[in-house]
Amino acid sequence: MSRPGPKPITGTHLYTLPRCARAVALEFWGDASRRRPLRDDEEFLLARGRAHEANHVATLGWPEPSWPRGDFAAGAAATRDLLVQGAPGVSQGVLVGRDGDGDLEFVGIPDLLRRCDGASALGDHHYVVGDVKSSSRPRGDQILQLSLYALLLELVQGRYPDHGFLVMKDGREQRIDLPAFRPALDDALARVRTLRADRDAARPFFAAACESCRWSELCLPALERDDDLSLVDGMTEGLRTMLEIAGVKTAKGLARATVARLARDTHVESALLRRLIDSARARVASAPQPIERAASADEASGVLLHVLLDGFADRALCFAARWNEGGEPRFVAVCPRSRDEEARAFEALIAQIPADRRLLHHGRALRAWLVRAYADGASHDGIEDRLLDVDRRLRSCANWPAPITGLPALVRAGLGRDPHRAGRSEAVAGWVEHADVEARLVRKARADLDDLHALVERWLCGSGIGSGVTSDAGGVATTEGGIAHAAGEPA
């Protein structure tokens, strides 16, 4: 990594820390030119979030400090002037904190600073801090970010705000009891300071967050090169550390280990160790290893359901279903044009599906949509009872050669296909502006259901034998003919 300047700590670092400490370290120490460029869908989502924030702020009509770009000290001074004057609120105010040598250590730019009654160093008033968010409910990372802003505000006004607020995507304000989270902030700050001081304070660890991380092109090749244990399905950071202490430092090493020895040296329960060793063996063999499980008629005869969502707008853009009838595949898709049409569209889809079959889906999105859509107690005629989430079943029906972080990883590992060949799920929200939006959505839904169908048929209903799937070292699967078996030692 390149030699860093003393970049100040920002709210973004606090926001990122719960997801990945390594990413925070790279924000300080990494070469920004090596960050993956933003994809189109990411650009779209960012722009939408900024527009949402700008729209809300505009409705308040609060002043914004004027300062030369990059000159945070000037920005902080301009902000302080507005606060001393007692402005009803300030948007995009600049708050800074300095270290013992007077250097800039912290910079925060909260969306909103709102005036409240109650004396402070500013006069007979003080301010509380707020931020505009694109989520429907507050999250811990957002609260940590807000807490940092509160700490910096305390430096200005001599008083820690007794609360802050988050403006959620529907415009509702969520009051946050900031003092209650102060211990978490203190811990988070200590860790971020350590990461800022030591480039090696956090190691990379392969996780679901890597899929969307712009530093992944730095971390993932290094992990592959080291045959890192985090590339074994089911691994956690703690388990990795314990295995390394016990002398197992690579996936190959884990594949050769025995349960008895590791259990003795790590105190980890045998069933978990057995699973990890088997996953390591699958990685070494570059092929999934099916696991015996009870057969389920529901899986074989079920109807596959899928929903494409615009998470920000809380909209279901497309419902689709796939099932077999008389040996032939049937596919139906319905694309509601507005939120008001969603329930009707879903019911129209359900009406075309055999009424006596389980409704298989992957992940929580569909059930969460159903609970929300019928939250007022309207009947959905027992649909929820028919739902069957196959996520956990698919994760556990085989020892996978790579960590299964979601459906795309299953598609790669279990089928050897590109899960994004019809587009990414995160990108569908941006298709609404396109003239051929419905065609895109239907194409994407069909591809997803084809993948899900193949996974269920091959890995849940079949034994997995004959899948002919191998995975290369980068976790991207290719297809070969023939039967894939792993040569391995008994535990």
Partner: protein, 588 residues
């Protein structure tokens, strides 16, 4: 962008019915999901025991030998014995007892299961799986009936009558003063007895709420009142019955429905055990009739009561409470929403529907607080009061000065020093799940020194863990040290509410901050930590990894709760034993 009707605007009845429906759906779904997993995954989840070899099968039970048992099963759970793949052919049984030293697992016959006697083969390997029983359907009718009663609907909506009859209050107060209750107990007990409709009493740990309740109920019953008493667990119901019997040998005490495991003790205390649908009470005679909500739901409609009383109401979901509320028009709720909450299995979009009846009513009406703890000494009470009760809890004078017995010169003097009432004994590890052998070993040595050096009797020690898998490890560690575990309490927090011991050791088990970040509020429960620590009269030791106090959960409630843990850890003396018990010490 969100639905026009927000949860807090919707009808509470609809929300409660939805809650019950979702609990049912989730229970069925969870069962389906479990069965679809391979045996190994079910074992890791704690929902299965594999490699159980049949030793013998007799009329009264079945004995198997098991190598490892990390399951969450507890005595009385419905289980199925089979090959782990064909659930239809599995034999329905009831989980009995497991001996971690001998590896013997005893399963009982299920008297309600239909079918022929199963054929079992000694020496064959079996798999033990969980079986589900759906009981919530019966509560739906209770909810509908409750909201059809204006008085009940008003109380639940925050419009209830909380006033009292002043003359009755004065008489009740005089009687309770004579009974020797403290000022807060007198005020709360008398107000409850004199209520026009609703009374709430918050009883933090050791504040004598069971005694206050028993005194009040006995006074009412002697005056000719018929009282129905309910709680979520048999143990809570029985505790009040036993307390009432100690005060008055002549009172009519009845328990309806299933007697639970304490049937013999109840009979010995002259408590009549009656099927709920066959209850008959003498007219114009006071009595206390007790039962769990499912039992009360079966009482004949003709039986009516003057008071419905709910103990441990902080653990009682609202639908369950309604089953008892239907039986009277004056309601007394005694509980503490800072102790164990109701057990909820589904992931509910409407958290308000999952609150306990006590917390729900407390939000509307507040509660009378019992503020003097007779259990905890000054040091324990200070930590518990400061951490969970905003400093409003005091130690009663006699309790305040108590100290655990102590003979200096031991290995763990810094931990067991009586002047340090609550201590954190650290052993840093990174276990991701529900068990830590590192903590079990340290806890075992601590208990051993308590017993052997300091003379604390085993029956005055409790060892508590959040997870049953950790409880098993702890029992094994204690057994290997020759500590008689049949005389200690070694259990999860859920099983220990209401009890107290001289010394309590709490083992938190999980240690990987990254894994804890994902578990959030499920692991970081201030309520459970409160219950664990407040079982101690003179000494509480938290055995934990530093990792617990470094976690930053993503869900706000988890982050808030983790902050409470951090604050607590910073306020306690910490002694680090990682060099002796930690992972690096194990590897040769």
């Amino acid at each position: 962008m969100l639905p026009a009707s927000q949860p807090d605007e919707r009808d509470l009845q609809a929300r409660l019915l939805r809650f019950l429906e979702r609990e049912d759906v989730d229970e069925r779904r969870s069962s389906d999901e479990l069965r679809a997993l391979p045996v190994g995954d079910r074992v890791v989840d704690g929902e299965c025991i594999d490699d159980a070899v049949l030793v013998r099968a007799a009329r009264d039970g079945i004995v198997l030998r098991v190598g490892e048992n990390h399951s969450k099963f507890r005595e009385g759970d419905a289980i199925a014995l089979g090959d782990g793949l064909d659930f239809d052919a599995a034999i329905p049984l009831v989980y009995g007892r497991f001996d971690p030293v001998s590896g013997e697992l005893r399963l009982e016959r299920d008297r309600y299961a239909r079918g022929d006697d199963p054929v079992l083969e000694p020496g064959r390997r079996y798999v033990v799986d969980r079986r589900s029983l759906g009981l919530r359907g019966r509560l739906r009718d209770c909810v509908k009936a409750g909201f059809a009663e204006p008085a009940i609907a008003d109380v639940l909506a925050g419009r209830g009558a909380v006033g009292r009859d002043d003359a009755r209050f004065e008489r009740a107060r005089d009687a309770l003063v004579i009974a020797g209750l403290d000022p807060a107990q007198v005020e709360a007990g008398a107000s409850a007895m004199a209520t026009h409709g609703l009374a709430l009493v918050q009883g933090p740990p050791g504040t004598g709420k069971t005694r206050m309740l028993a005194e009040a109920l006995c006074l009412l019953a002697r005056a000719g009142c018929r009282i129905v008493l309910s709680a979520f667990t048999h143990r809570a119901v029985d505790n009040v019955l036993f307390a009432a019997r100690r005060l008055d040998r002549a009172l009519t005490l009845v328990k309806v429905g299933n007697a639970g495991t304490g049937a013999d003790d109840l009979r010995a205390a002259d408590v009549r055990l009656v099927p709920a649908n066959r209850l008959e009470l003498a007219a114009n005679a006071g009595a206390i009739v007790a039962g769990t909500p499912f039992a009360l739901e079966r009482l004949p409609a003709r039986v009516n009561f003057h008071f419905a009383v709910f103990d441990e109401a902080g653990q009682l979901p609202i639908p369950h409470a309604i089953a008892g509320m239907l039986l009277a028009r004056r309601w007394i709720f005694v509980g503490d929403h800072h102790q164990l909450p109701p057990v909820v299995t589904a992931d509910h979009a409407d958290p308000a529907a999952t609150r306990s009846v006590f917390e729900h009513l407390h939000a509307h009406y507040g509660a009378m607080l019992l503020d003097r703890s007779y259990r905890m000494n000054d040091g324990v009470c200070d930590v518990v009061g400061r951490t969970f009760y905003g400093g409003r809890l005091r130690s009663a004078p006699l309790a305040a000065s108590r100290r655990m017995p102590f003979v200096p010169g031991g290995t763990f003097d810094a931990v067991l020093d009586p002047e340090q009432a609550v201590v954190l004994a650290r052993v840093d590890h990174l276990q991701p799940g529900h068990r830590s052998g590192e903590e079990a070993e340290l806890a075992g040595d601590l208990v051993s020194e308590c017993v052997r050096r300091h003379g604390v009797p085993p029956h005055e020690i409790a060892v508590i863990a959040p997870f049953r898998a950790q409880v098993r490890l702890l029992r094994s560690a204690l057994e290997r040290r020759g500590i008689p575990i049949d005389r200690l309490v070694v259990d999860t927090v859920e099983r220990i509410q209401g009890q107290e011991r001289e010394v309590v050791v709490v083992s938190l088990a999980a240690g990987d901050p990254a894994a804890l970040d994902r578990r959030g509020s499920f692991f970081f429960s201030p309520n459970r930590l409160n219950v664990a620590l407040s079982r101690a009269r003179t000494k509480a030791v938290i055995v934990a990894s530093q990792g617990v106090f470094l976690a930053l959960p993503m869900d706000p409630e988890g982050l808030r709760a983790a902050s409470i843990y951090k604050t607590l850890a910073r306020s306690l003396p910490q002694i680090d034993f990682s060099a002796v018990y930690g992972p690096r010490a194990r590897v040769r």
